[in-house]
Subunit: 410 residues, 2 copies
């Protein structure tokens, strides 16, 4: 895909697009280690057309509430993020704290408080230590080279940063799209995502920007699952500052012009890369699992089944142990709620077929175990009912996941 329409920038970051700057500081919220940066700011030198997608959890963090409100005018210029505490289930004081984070960042950058988005993840039900936040925001130094520092400061139990930037040609102009994300636990987004920040110097119409972001999220972040737990903080932001000088993309939300299609594909590529990086870095995970469901009666069915299989704890544990216990794939498919006819169903692990039209095929257990003993495992279920398909990503379930989550606040 990228070879035709776009190219990945080596060491690209969320600050790679023209006119974006980023940075972070250590405030002592996440960890007592002085290299554990935990306050980060991302900004554009000019106001941006902006879009956001947020958690569908009925319990929503204060940053989610404040950011959604600040995005109603489809405009934003900066994002401030902390890690270590989610500022969720914190009542009115939490809301006031999130608004103060926006105000402090606005004052620091000389932008409007209503143009600052807020995000944060970490422990739920504990107020932010605002003295530390104030010091942290004050200490952030922003620059064009600050993308890596930003990506490093937003993570919590992640073992590595998730970053990408790509070039794409739009209307004769060279446009850059950058992104950074965090997330390794409480990952089962629903019409939203963990924390992800996408930037572009493309000029994009606001209605199209929101539609394109939602579509990209549906194909990427919303198809990732680590532990079936939808977070209260899930937020995906997209800021487009137009500095690339391309003719604005997307006359209407449903624009299908070549430029609109190219932008959608490029945006989906960036989101999918970040989403897969999140699944690969799932808490305790050692493998990325990709589940493809084909031949479904509807896209809804294909998506539902792919996500259900990718989130089955039994399948995830079997993949961890290189155990070709493929009955668990079928059991998860069957309980997903999607239409299926057992007697028509084919099942594959990688290119090894284990079931044909509902009948188990004899297979070499050692060979199958070897196929599972890889950093990326591909599972395919062909329903042979219709023309729809979907892909979901997850990770294996390990003893380490349990250890990490048995002792998080204490």
């Amino acid at each position: 895909m990228e070879s035709q329409d776009f190219a990945v920038i080596p060491e690209g970051t969320v600050a790679s697009p023209k006119g974006f700057i980023a940075g972070s500081a250590y405030a002592g919220i996440k960890s007592p280690k002085p290299d554990a940066r935990d306050v980060a700011i991302l900004a554009s030198v000019t106001p941006c057309t902006a879009a956001g997608v947020f958690t569908t959890n009925k319990v929503r963090s204060a940053p989610v509430i404040v950011s959604e409100s600040n995005l109603t005018d489809n405009r934003a210029q900066a994002v401030v993020v902390n890690s270590g505490r989610a500022n969720a289930c914190t009542g009115d004081q939490g809301l006031a704290d999130a608004r103060q984070m926006a105000a402090l960042t606005a004052a620091k950058l000389g932008v409007q408080a209503g143009d600052v988005l807020v995000a944060g993840t970490g422990v739920i039900g504990v107020l932010l230590p605002m003295d530390k936040i104030v010091t942290g925001i004050d200490g952030v130094r922003l620059s064009e080279d600050g993308g890596h520092d930003f990506a490093r400061a937003i993570i919590t139990t992640d073992t590595r940063t998730k970053e990408i930037a790509i070039w794409v040609e739009l209307g004769g102009a060279k446009v850059t799209i950058g992104g950074a994300a965090k997330g390794a636990g409480m990952i089962h987004p629903n019409m939203a995502t963990m924390l992800a920040f996408v930037t572009t110097d493309a000029a994009v119409e606001p209605g199209f920007l929101q539609t394109a972001l939602r579509r990209a999220a549906d194909l990427s972040f919303n198809m990732v699952t680590i532990d079936s737990d939808t977070s209260t903080s899930d937020s995906l932001f997209l800021l487009a500052n137009g500095q690339a000088g391309n003719p604005p993309v997307g006359k209407s939300p449903g624009d299908v012009s070549p430029d609109a299609a190219t932008f959608q594909a490029a945006l989906t590529y960036v989101c999918t890369y970040l989403a897969k990086e999140i699944a690969r870095d799932g808490e305790g995970a050692t493998k990325l699992i990709e589940v493809n469901v084909e031949g479904a009666l509807s896209e809804t069915d294909a998506r539902l089944m792919a996500r259900t299989i990718a989130s089955s704890p039994l399948l995830k544990a079997a993949v961890h142990g290189n155990d070709p216990n493929w009955g668990r794939i079928l059991a998860a498919a069957g309980r997903s709620g999607a239409e299926m006819v057992e007697a028509k169903t084919d099942v594959f692990i990688d290119d090894l077929q284990l079931m044909r039209a509902g009948r188990p095929l004899p297979f070499d257990k050692k060979l199958a175990s070897g196929v599972l003993n890889r950093p990326e495992v591909f599972i395919t279920v062909r329903l042979n009912l219709g023309a729809y398909k979907a892909t979901a990503w997850g990770c294996d379930l390990t003893e380490e996941y349990v250890r990490i989550n048995s002792a998080y606040t204490t």
Copy 2:
């Protein structure tokens, strides 16, 4: 409850009701260890009014298909069960094998093949070793004292048997209800259950029997979750042979006479006991978790939220580590889909209140950790919206769960 209306029989089994006999044999399907009994038969000396509830998974095992078909006349006299292989995803041969199990059992007992129900759990996608099954069925010796042997033979990864029998007075007659169940993994029943067998010498009308069983299942087995994975083999059977001589219970499916209410309560008690035993013995589990949701707008909402909280891997891991990370309770409640208003919600662990009307309360972490460090952990969410409530049961998530399920077939 039991003190008023019924009494638990010490060492009671599924064969405790009058006229029931049971037994098992070793056939070498589940394990090479000669004490690993794996074929079991339960029978009544006279034909029974019978009812069943089965898995809602679209992939259904051959025993489920055969048993449901044999129950269409609301009549049964025996059940044959194997452990070690589920006979699921086995195509036409699997169906023929399940029917042969019924026929062999019928011939052995001198009953009609259509009056024999079939069940089995274990690995999916592998044919039954019918030669071993034939020898196994032939070797079973049935007796009134065979209930424990039956309960022992049906288990797989369970660490102990699940059995109970109670006495209850119905229309002046002393009636017995017995039950045996198995299940420790792939436990997230939906309008059905893992394997459970309930017997009674009560006389019960068939329509009422089915309705009563479904209601009992909804309050018990359907509120248990170990790992969110609904099995392809879930089956719950109830056989009533009328030998207690009580006036038949349940003129209509919705009978609300005192006898009908007493029978319903007693049946629900037996099913709830077995369901909790399954949760307590969840693969790798060290604790039983009981989740109570109160003040919901509907029973559906209360059930949905209770089950979602009980199945949250993050909460289950936190309970395992005695970590009072109560934000995970609220995050699971919020993603359940049930109506809730954060600002009205109260959260308790045991009698320790952690949130009042959406505000976190200061609490002693050591005290909270101590409350979690018990074999039974009680979590309560009060929504303060309506009059409905529900209870769900689950277990903690441990490293041992992952170890058990990383290597099951290999």
